[in-house]
Amino acid sequence: MTDEKKTTMNDSSADAMREQQLKSGPLLEVKDLQVDFTSDRGKAIHAVRDSSFSVYPGQWVAIVGESGSGKSTSAMACLGLLPGTGHVVGGSIKLDGEEIAYYKPKQFVHLRGSKMGLVPQDPMSNLNPVWRIGTQVKEALIANNMDVSHEKRSKLSKALAGSEVEVKTEGDETFIGSKELPDLLEAAEKQLVELGVTGTKLEKTMAKFREEWVPGSETRWRVASDLIKAGVKDEDAWYLAKKYVTGSSMEDRIAGLLSEAGLPDAATRARQFPHEFSGGMRQRALIAIGLACRPELLIADEPTSALDVTVQKKILDHLQMLTDSLGTAVLFITHDLGLAAERAQHIVVMYKGQVVESGPSLEVLQHPQHPYTKRLVAAAPSLASQRIISAKAHGEENAVVMEHRVDEKKLKTSDTIIDVEHLTKEFKLPRKKELFKAVDDVSFQVKRGTTLAIVGESGSGKSTVANMCLKLLEPTGGKVLYEGQDIAGFKGHSLLDFRRHVQPVFQNPYGSLDPMYSIFRSIEEPLRIHHIGDKKSRAARVKELLEMVELPESVMQRYPNELSGGQRQRIAIARAMALNPDVIVCDEAVSALDVLVQDQVLQLLNDLQAERGLSYLFITHDLAVVRQIADDVVVMQHGKLVEHGTTDEVFNNPQKQYTRDLLDAIPGGKLELGLDL
């Protein structure tokens, strides 16, 4: 499977594709769709209202919007898989011209898998833990009576494939079987030797064959064309291909599908259970399942949102390559504008259950017209090119100064407020003798009144560093200095004093507030712990803090379960601010939030910093956010510090490959959007 072969989308074929798309008409056409949910009390809740969009064969169409905008609901309506009480109440959904909006469940069974596939959102919950991965792929093949020995092609890809290699008969789409593969390789080698190919060239060619001829995935005509490219005569190549490529077994096909989805060592992996897979690997298995029956349309519901950016990029690249070569159309649901801009030709923006704007993706995102789209584009972190500047602190005169400045007075006392020296943390893993080094010799300084961001993917040890800085974990080696004092020595009063000055804001806005506490009690808690003020003065302080985070006073009597994620996070910030701290440690504080809300919280954090000269230790996996808020950056990988520098240095001139990979993986990072804003 080489790239050249998969490249079907060069200029001439783009035209051919367009012609084909025009001829066949839209594959999926949704018109004025209305979806309602029924509440507990029997009231109808309109989840989707009058939404229209269409998907052409072979096209990537993105639906973007915040959570609750109805984007997933619209897609699930197409599959007939609306959750709970959801049902289509109006409009039409046409698949290949056939009205399916009011299909019965039984009728949908015939469409799913073979006509429409699904790649779901959360890789952790979408595979049944009790069945082997291979079995779960097999279910899809069996349910649709798939012929496992032959490739099935969409009309579109058949039409496009014609321009490259001549695929004459059905038989040319036969897969290699694992039984015949050794013989085929042997025969191919013999053939090459006969042609006089020797030495390293022979080895290279054979290695290439071995890598590419995946049983259950590589077809006869590809084998033939590979042989022809290696110099074998047409006749002989086809003779060999016909003789040895005679179809694959179910096991071969399963392994072939999994390896197409980018799973290494697929035959062995197919026999494993989901819990033995990482998130990225599970997502690949789900892609294999979604594409197993070669659907015309693949619905991908936030397929990579739960994954690290570098993994996300790899998987999406792979998915795009696969769908392009198969001629599969993709309806791609995402909250990430950058991703949509980068991957989709057509974009549909949804807000409160309605389509507010749609059109060619680049055009829409470069010249957004609807105020909501404008707002989204303005807030999208992946598109930001510089640090947020707080107008509040700088005042009008400073509004022109495009640089974040630190209060000079504060700098006098001491330059650094937190000094991390050779910090190391080892954990004992269950049932393993050797210790696991979660953090390995990390050193950095947080300068007073600035933000230092620690960036890394899951497992990089960044949160462990944060917890050690908060003295919630004891380091195995090295030390953390706060105002020049080693925090390991803090006990009793000095510890309480330290806690007063260094406050956390955690990632999970649902977990960090006690559900049994009213908002008032939550914010008041630190004041009580530190015995500050009396009842009246504490109440006044809580009001003041709520005002600071721009929440109405009426919120005080409420409980966390009534507030949105962003509101809870603002409450958490208010609580952290209650004691007037110097340092706030934000552990993925905005990661779980929608773009607009995230932007709002970042603005708030930034305003507070500008007003009060706070220092932030900002832990995140999202480099785009770093650009918006940080002055210095520490990049971590596998517990080690990879790179440390100012934000501009790291972004403009990354020194290490890993940093470059991370930067590359920012979706849409290289696109310039929101040109009119």
């Binding site: 599959l79 898989l81 959750p83 709970g84 469940p105 039984k106 069974v109 015939h110 469409l111 799913r112 898998g113 073979s114 429409m116 596939g117 699904l118 779901p120 959360d122 919950s125 979408n126 595979l127 049944n128 833990p129 009790v130 069945w131 279910e139 899809a140 349910a143 649709n144 259970f273 819990h275 033995e276 789900l286 399942i289 979604g290 197993a292 029956c293």
Partner: protein
């Protein structure tokens, strides 16, 4: 898997030791006097009492008593009853009957519990779901001995479908009604458990994914919803098999079945503390072994445990 098994067996040993010690201590170390209890309402004959105390090592320190009991128990020597019969021979007569009864009850509750639970969970909100729920609620609320009497009166006395009592050497038909009575409460619990498991699982993501593959509703139901819902049900069932043997006492009493429960009850009436301790110890062992089997089954059904 083998490692897991070994681990569980090793974990079982302190539990077995602790449990037998507890049972023994409850009988022989509590303020009540088992020897006095043997005499029932009759005055205590001190000479006989001393003889009994010596026979059961009750004159020795408690821990020695227990160790001697344990040593004897390992060789299945549980001593003699008041009338001089070896306890083990009584147990050997009673156990097969109870095992037969418990296994029948087990099959009854497993089959009907799962079937009704599945119907009710898959068709939540339908009228028959409500009926099944109400019946299971009633079965849980009504004590077994009441259910027993009701069944005995209607099925046995009034309609003569089943024999009213089973007697000392019961066959399959004799035990059918007692087994149903014995299994009824657990059946109700299984219905409720399966129902709640199924209605939780039906909305899970992987079920949706399975549907998205194009699998038919029947296949999704069996391979994904029921298969996964059965894991906690099997756990419950396994633990219940042990509990059924112990719980058979009431049923055996009502239907006059000469099993372990009947033996225990008669021994209680006659004040045969030794027999009671022996039987309860054995039943506890059965219970612990059943739990071990459940753990194995659990590991078989859930690969996450097996490979952990």
């Amino acid at each position: 898997m083998g490692k897991y098994l070994l681990h569980r067996i090793l974990q079982m040993i302190p539990v077995v030791l602790g449990t037998t010690l507890l049972v023994y201590a409850l009988v022989f170390a509590l303020p009540g006097d088992p020897v006095a209890a043997m005499f029932g309402d009759k005055p205590v004959n001190e000479a006989v009492a001393a003889q009994i105390r010596a026979e059961y090592n009750l004159d020795k320190p408690f821990i020695v008593q227990y160790l001697l009991f344990l040593k004897n128990a390992l060789t299945l020597n549980f001593g003699n009853t008041f009338s001089g019969q070896p306890v083990i021979s009584q147990i050997a007569r009673a156990f097969p009957v109870t095992i037969k009864l418990a296994v029948m009850a087990f099959c009854f509750e497993a089959i009907f519990g799962v079937i009704f639970g599945a119907i009710s969970g898959l068709k939540k909100g339908k009228w028959y779901d409500s009926v099944i729920l109400i019946v299971s609620l009633l079965l849980i609320s009504v004590p077994t001995f009441v259910t027993g009497f009701v069944a005995q009166y209607f099925l046995g006395v009034e309609w003569r479908i089943f024999p009213v009592t089973a007697g000392s050497n019961p066959g399959f038909l004799d035990l059918l009604m007692p087994a149903m009575v014995l299994g009824s409460v657990s059946m109700a619990y299984i219905i409720r458990l399966s129902r709640s498991e199924i209605s939780t699982n039906i909305a899970l993501d992987y079920v949706r994914t399975a549907r998205a593959k194009g699998m038919s509703n029947t296949k999704v139901t069996f391979r994904h919803i029921l298969r996964n819902s059965m894991i906690p049900v099997v756990t419950y069932l396994g633990q219940d098999l042990g509990a059924l043997m112990g719980g058979a006492m009431i049923t055996e009493q009502i239907f006059n079945i000469h099993g372990v429960g009947y033996l225990t009850y008669q021994s209680i009436l006659k004040g045969e503390a030794n027999t009671v301790v022996s039987v309860v110890t054995l039943l506890t062992l059965v219970f612990v072994v059943c739990n071990l089997i459940v753990d194995m089954l659990y590991a078989l059904m859930d690969p996450r445990i097996r490979y952990a």
